[in-house]
Symmetry: C2
């Protein structure tokens, strides 16, 4: 439906893109063929008989009533009416007897809302518009009604009119009329509905709502707090329904899912929202492979039909492999440029920083090869990559041109002997114009910097016109075998959970739990799409003793905060596992939207503000009284305080 609208608006409006139109038409017919599903009735229960976008030659002679917005008007003769479904041309009657209809249709400002009734007629020969799905017909109007007028708009509802994001967010209700927002929100709705069909109707999952007024979880520093009417007592908004979903398994619900609203207070981080949505899933008696198959089926089933179909099973990679080859736990596998360990090539090097690195026990030399780099990258590009490595990772990076005739004035590069050069070419399969970026140091650090440079290089090459990452390609990847624990950042002698404390250890590593916990891998798995983490989950601990040992002995958490969960595990908890998919991010990638704010109807700004309604807002102190709280004003905000204390003028 939306895609139909998309193609129509695309073709009828100002930004016709052959590619989109083509895709959409293909998708529509494919959907009609593949699925026997009833097409939704879009005009049931309302004043109109049809949508603006659906009329064709097959409707000729029909009496129709349409409702929509005035998109534009030509010489008081034609008017183009728009609704969510498309555009249609309306002929303004010119004869005396229809003067009142003419007056309404000619005087209403653009974006006014009108209802028109009339007959579907053919356009005169030669006046058909093949770019417009309704371009063969027009409406001969008999009556018209002005439903609402429109004042002067802050921006035009035309896709080619560029506006700042702040303006779009302030007038979100106008921005929502745009082609792209309608497409994104309708695709989201449709895709979630298909996910529900797959889970509920095909696999017997139970959709269960869990509370969002909960209590602080251990380590829940990013949870919003909500004062209750009991002095000093607070609810918290949970970051996920993790505890509840596990308790549902203990409760024998067997297969749970929820499209769950979650909350995370991270202050202002780009492309994060204080509230977000995840597809939350938990199953009893399942293993990793079971969850992975479920999710592969889920994405395949719900994937929009105007995109290339999803191929299953998804490849998988261990965390160790991801780090070694891509320098990250979320590799973008749409392109190569993998990290290669070339330590052996440089065992006898004279290059100082390589020598230094290799003299240390954990020292390595690593490299990536940029194919055609010498052709497409400029010297300043290479320099900016080196600077990035130096500034953000404190790592030296050396560019080498093994087969190119260029050799920038790098004294170090000259120290690479001919023998090393040919070994490098062999090992890394370097072609003409390949550029090698080389670094040295501890494995993890060397990989991280090259992982970052790999992505930067891809951006640079694509800015020069190369296509490394096909925008139509969706490259899914499972990353598995993560470590169960990491050293605490603030105190590396202590351990913290790499993901969360309910993650089960890898069965092969259980024996290490008491001796070398840092070596224990977990049964956590991440789902990565085009280099973005779009989901993660694990098989959980169902043994109360193991859970107590990990929480109390290894993580040194206060188990009292989790006593209900520990107790639940004592009372016949089944083995279970689950996953959560980040819906906003997933839809963002599917639609190709530049930001998750483009797939959310009313998103918050970077700083967590609703620019339309001005939330968060100040409250008069008496409204805080029932909650037994008062504001602790920072010392430097006295001025602000006095202005904010004015009750009922929160916008001043």
């Amino acid at each position: 439906m939306f895609s139909c609208w998309l193609s129509r608006l695309c073709r009828g409006l100002s930004t016709p893109t052959g590619r989109v139109t083509h895709l959409i038409q293909g998708s529509l017919s494919r959907r009609l063929m593949l699925s026997s599903q009833r097409i939704p009735e879009l005009s049931s229960f309302v004043a109109r008989t049809n949508t603006c976008g659906e009329l064709r030659s097959s409707h000729l002679g029909q009496e129709v009533t349409l409702c929509g917005w005035i998109q534009y008007r030509r010489q008081n003769i034609f008017l183009v009416l728009r609704d969510f479904h498309g555009l249609v041309q309306v002929v303004i009657p010119q004869d005396e007897s229809a003067a009142s209809v003419k007056k309404i249709l000619c005087e209403a400002p653009m974006e006014s809302v009108v209802q028109v009734s009339g007959t579907v007629i053919s356009r005169p020969p030669g006046q058909e518009n093949p770019k417009m799905p309704t371009g063969e017909i027009e409406i001969k109007v008999k009556s018209a009604q002005l439903l609402n007028t429109c004042k002067k708009l802050p921006f035009e509802i035309k896709d080619f009119v560029k506006k700042t994001e702040a303006l779009r967010l302030q007038y979100r209700y106008l921005d929502l009329r745009s082609f792209q927002m309608q497409y994104n929100l309708r695709l989201r709705s449709r895709m979630v509905m298909k996910m529900r069909e797959y889970l509920c109707n095909l696999h017997g999952f139970v959709d269960i709502e869990t509370p969002t007024l909960f209590k602080r979880t251990p380590g829940g520093a990013k949870e919003f707090v909500i004062p209750s009417r009991e002095p000093g007592k607070f609810y918290c908004l949970p970051q996920s329904p993790q505890q509840f979903k596990q308790l549902l398994m203990v409760g024998g619900l067997d297969r749970y899912f929820q499209v769950a609203r979650c909350y995370r207070d991270e202050g202002s981080r780009p492309d994060r929202q204080p509230e977000f949505t995840q597809i939350d899933i938990e199953m009893s008696f399942v293993d990793q492979i079971g969850i992975r198959s479920l999710i592969e089926g889920l994405l395949q089933y719900s994937w929009p039909s105007d995109k290339d179909p999803v191929v299953v099973p998804f490849p998988s990679m261990t965390f160790a492999e991801a780090l070694a080859s891509y320098g990250t736990d979320k590799p973008d596998t749409r392109f190569g440029m993998k990290i290669v360990d070339i330590s052996d090539v440089f065992r006898n090097t004279k290059v100082g920083f390589l020598q230094d690195a290799l003299s240390k026990p954990q020292g390595t030399v690593k490299a990536i090869c940029i194919s055609e780099g010498a052709k497409y990258l400029k010297r300043k590009d290479i320099e900016s990559l080196r600077k990035l490595a130096a500034d953000h990772f404190n790592q030296e990076v050396l560019p080498v041109f093994p087969k190119a005739n260029r050799n920038w004035n790098s004294p170090v590069a000259k120290s690479i002997m001919e023998e090393q050069r040919s070994e490098l070419i062999r090992l890394m399969e370097i072609q003409e114009d390949g550029v090698v970026l080389l670094t040295a140091g501890e494995h993890r650090k060397a990989c991280s910097v090259l992982g970052k440079l790999r992505l930067e290089c891809a951006d640079l090459l694509e800015a020069r016109g190369l296509v490394l990452r096909d925008p139509a390609l969706f490259s899914f990847l499972w990353v598995v075998d993560f470590p169960l624990f990491l050293p605490k950042e603030e105190n590396p002698g202590e351990l913290e959970s790499a993901h969360h404390p309910f993650t089960a250890p890898h069965p092969s590593d259980i024996h290490l739990l008491h001796t070398e916990p840092k070596q224990v891998r977990s049964q956590h798995y991440d789902l990565v799409l085009n280099g973005n983490e779009i989901g993660g989950g694990s098989i959980r601990i169902h043994d109360a003793e193991l859970q107590r040992y990990i929480l109390a002995t290894l993580l040194k958490e206060d188990v009292k905060l989790l006593s209900h969960l520990l107790q639940a595990l004592d009372f016949g908890a089944p083995p279970h596992g689950g996953i959560a998919l980040g819906l906003d991010r997933l839809i963002c990638l599917v639609t190709g939207a530049p930001s998750i704010r483009d797939v959310i109807a009313f998103p918050k700004s970077f700083r967590g503000h609703d620019l339309m309604s001005n939330a968060p807002d100040s409250l008069p102190p008496e409204e805080l009284k029932p909650y037994h709280i008062q504001v602790s004003w920072p010392a430097d905000s006295e001025a602000e305080k006095s202005s904010l204390n004015q009750p009922y003028h929160p916008e001043s």
Copy 2:
């Protein structure tokens, strides 16, 4: 699926009820006949091959693997295994070679979780259990695995074991294993899924998520507040997505719905939850009839197939009629006992309080007739009804027995002359043993007290064994033509919205808006089921000027708080309307559950507490710091404060 499980558990366990079994069997076959929908695969992706509840004679000879909880064990020979889907009998092997299997199955405590593999075999002749859906077969076990043990439970997982609600809520994860909770939650999930199919797939609605971190709405005194990281700035949790759904219509989304989480802080009110769920709907270009047809179709489509089908259209009644005949805006129309105005009968009465009432300009005499009341009600019942009227309404109520030979020693009753008596019999169609309860006063007050007594009488009669309200009957009713405004409780000279300020006035009454606003009826409608309000909505104001006039001039609200909405109406807002259904209450009525807490997985207690996890809970002051708030301790809670200030020991 759940109903299948229901019947099995019902029949196999301790509370066999012929009625339920019969209904379920009927419903299952009806569903299989009516719907071509694929039956969910309940054992996909997991260790088992089948659920415990599904095995039949048709599975004989199959090798199966089952996972479940040990429900009971007989003489170390049989074991009954339970999962969400039902029960199955497992034969514990007795031969030496299977000693380890026998040991596992005989030693595991009740409610332990086991996995067994074996063959489906016939039960020996004469040992079939016709009350158990799997009663023809049993499992000859070859291998068994103890997946988890169970410690001593706080209560048995048997439906006949009575437990207090507090205990059930504290161990909710155990309570969820009960037949009734599984049935309720699965019915809820299924019904919501059908609603989504109806809205999305059949009628093109778009499922859109709206924010829950919003700002205070005017008059939003029941909204929870959430401090942000900006000093003195707060988000609020909205009571409904009202503003957002209207803004989506302005945004041209045309048809919106959401299964929306809403929040209301009412302290402790019985059968309310601080967070609740509504089916939230909004449409453009729609009128009242359109919304009503949509909802009738929605309920008909989603109604569980094991209940009597929903008959549409639903009857409707004006607010005035509901008040006059039932004394309430949510009449229970499953039974009669309507209120009758009998003022004319008593124009010449000598009874003092009737005389008094009728001498006033608005005075009326009203009555209800309790059929068979003289037979079923005792004198103390009548007295308790009179006391209720006196205590709660300050109203005198007079019992009259027009055709009964009883006449309690009421001097007033004797003053009712024979002529009035026969007129009463005629007017109210009083039969033998009918009892009339009579009151006098201003219309609204007289109706209210009789409306309350009507429901009390029904309870009393049903406690005596009469059936007035068939529990299988679902009596839907639309109540329409509400007043748009009510006098403010604290200041009756001023007006407040009867529902909310966005409700459109009734088209016939627009002319009264400037002259007699109190007389204006609204385009609000309520949906009532068996005397409970389960939904409400309205056609909204789409005219900015009208909205400004009502907000600023009539309601004297600060329009600044709603400037974004008013501005949106200025920019081509389409006519629109919508409704919200209270999902918790609806599911509660459909399942016949005693409380909405029985249809919510993890409800809060009366006082808004999560008895399982102990939320809300105290927080150490340093966790409040980022939010620039501190607790204002009431003077008498110093002791509490000192205990609560202990960080990380919130349960102490």
